[in-house]
Amino acid sequence: MKVVFKIWRQDSQKHQGGFERYPIEGLTEDMSFLEALDHLNERLVLQNQKTIAYEYDCREGICGQCGIFINGRAHGPHNNITTCQLHMRSFQDGETIVVEPWRATAFPVIKDLVVDRSALDRIIEKGGYISAKTGTAAESNAILIPKDIADKAMDAAACIGCGACVATCKNASAALFTSAKINHLNNLPQGKPEAAQRVLQMTKQMQLENFGNCTFTGACEVECPENISIINIAEMNARRAKAKWLGR
């Protein structure tokens, strides 16, 4: 199989970036997309050229570190998967594949396809936790959590923090990411004491980081590798209103 990769190259945040074309042969359909890029990089090394920088770690769809905009879509042509789960069988032989980094003001490009997503960590830092010191826990079954509540919390908690929701959103909103963490914790009895503070502070940080506002296009949930629903955003907004006006 052969394809042409049209890849965004940018030396650093300070440099201007641009597309470069890389025709490449010797690919197979069962190669993953990232393995195809690995293959291209090995070819570049053999030609004494600098390799293309892109991110990955677990390569099984759970760490959230990979994230490439492929042919105009976050994580490529399929719904609800990560870049590392994409395979070359999803492309045509001879196809030109456009490969770009996540585009968002809050995600500056570090190099080539690598962006800085630390804004997401800073949102978590503003309340995406339960303030409980190690060594202070009560017996687990002393607080019963109904299965539907635990399941709902888990649906939201599944977020891998890849940032595809931001990358695909026309407003570059981080509402899906932020709401997932808020709803995970605020649904559980352990998260209740700090519920109001959490929703107010995390949503405030979201704005400070220059993420856009959510206009409910639903684009994010199509790309989310964990199928996190935009209902979470509505729930977050309701929680925020309640916290703001009622203080709880």
Partner: protein, 635 residues
Amino acid sequence: MLESKIPEGPLQEKWRNYQLKSQLINPANKKRLKVIVVGSGLAGAGAAATLGEMGYEVLCFCYQDSARRAHSVAAQGGINAAKNYQHDGDSVMRMFYDTLKGGDFRSREANVFRLAELSAPLIDHYVQQGVPFAREYGGVLVNRSFGGVQVQRTFYARGQTGQQLLLAAYSQLYKMKRAKKVRMFPRHEMMDMVIIQGKAKGIIVRDLVSGQLKRFAADAVVLATGGYSRVFRLSTLAIGCNGSAIWKAHKRGAYFAAPSFTQIHPTALPQTSEAQSKLTLMSESLRNDGRIWVPKAKDDPRKANAIPEEERDYYLERRYPSFGNLAPRDIASRAAKERIDAGYGVGRLQNAVYLDFKHAIAHFGLETIQDRYGNLFKMYKKITGVDAYREPMQISPAAHFSMGGLWVDYELMTTIPGLYAIAECNFSDHGANRLGANSLLQASIDGYFILPNTINTYLADALHEDHPSTAHPEFIKVEQEVKAQIKNLLSIKGTKTVDHFHRELGKVMWQSCAMSRNHNGLKKAISEIEHIKAKFWTEVNVTGGDKEMNPELEKALRLADFLELGLLMCTDALQREESCGAHFREEFQTPEGEALRKDEMYSYVSAWEYNAGNFKLHKEPLVFEYAQPTIRSYK
């Protein structure tokens, strides 16, 4: 002489006795002490957050872009705890025995007991932190079984338990970052250790964005850097996982224990091509309900569903009737290898076996199976394009966990004073084989509960010493050495890629130092690795510079260490002339092909000293007072 510092008293009293006698530091003084934590996975994040809560100043480093990426995230199935919620006869003592036996009696009794003892409070801890564990309709926690065990003691959050525990630890880490007790350094990789007057006093790191080398000094250093199975290249680990931090510590004087004890996981997806970079794991929990089989006929060309029941060989159930499909990992992997090698393998490359849910779906209904394993089936479909509700999964053994690691005493301190190693990067609790769902457990307990207790004893003395400074000549010297190594790598400008050499190393390691080993094979492997290493240092090409983000250079630096580590692993496997757990020497097996342990000669932990590359063996004898080693039988 290796001093394991096991506390006095009966097994059940040891940890309490230790805590009673350990030193305390008053809160005002803790503020003046600095601790470096390398790695931000379950163990590193848990330790950094807890040390921060205690009042220490903590610096935490990880190579990923965020602490939330660490490979603890990928653990799927669960975490064990002796809660006995299922009323099925579980207890701390039973969990202790299962773990010790699972490890084939090659771990320390006192450590294993502590692991079991602290498991129950750990579940309480995680529930408090907001981990959405699976629940019954009435609201209580659910359990399932894992390999090597006949009770249900595994707690889980769908097939994403590791992710949920890691996110809990990560959130606590960022809580302490906000409290300004932890400083986080993502995209920073440790390059070397700095030892001053025999004590660990700091590290040299490389900023992976700017390429700049930086020095950090502290009163103690904690390594929580995970496993090294990427030495096989193809493994279930994240691509960035590496053995460099512990290898650098080893070269600076820390003993490396049982390096060849690496676990081959029985249920990963099979390799399909040479270009493959990763073997994806399918959780062991699937073996609760899935049945493993191969056709009874060699080279059977029929599709799985076309093969009738009587022509299927459920080989685990046949060989190990009492544990069946839940035989421990080393045994299940070897049994799969035996069938595949004998010509009964399935799949395009005939390198896999079937894992079949037909009976479970017929028995429990599709909905129950979807509820239990839904996301694993989905993941399987994403990768292979096959619907495993309709036809069996194809699975194959893959390199997974390293039981070996830096030698540590009961306090988790290495042979370098002030240097601690926690979780997978140490050797302490799993012996020669780790039981499923004990990895998340060890990582959490080491980080949250043990280290924060034991480190005080050392720091109480450090309080009265000078605080180390990065201007010390030793820091300058080590930084220069790192600089020289990087310069050297970049100047070779050969004709082969880093990955080329990694593939070569992986092939040798997989062939000679994985599921089964023998004298001649290991001898040959050592000379082959020497050869690959020599070629690497003369023929590799690393493009790009050192003062920029350069993933190629990162890979090369890690591989340089793997090449040396591979030599030690083969040396260790060669020296241990017995079979135990994951270490299976072909020369030492029973007539039925089971591992043949030789307790009279090898009942010790092998701790290797670097000794300028001429590895020197030290032995820590294993004394069993409470559980007498028996022949490990799962029949």
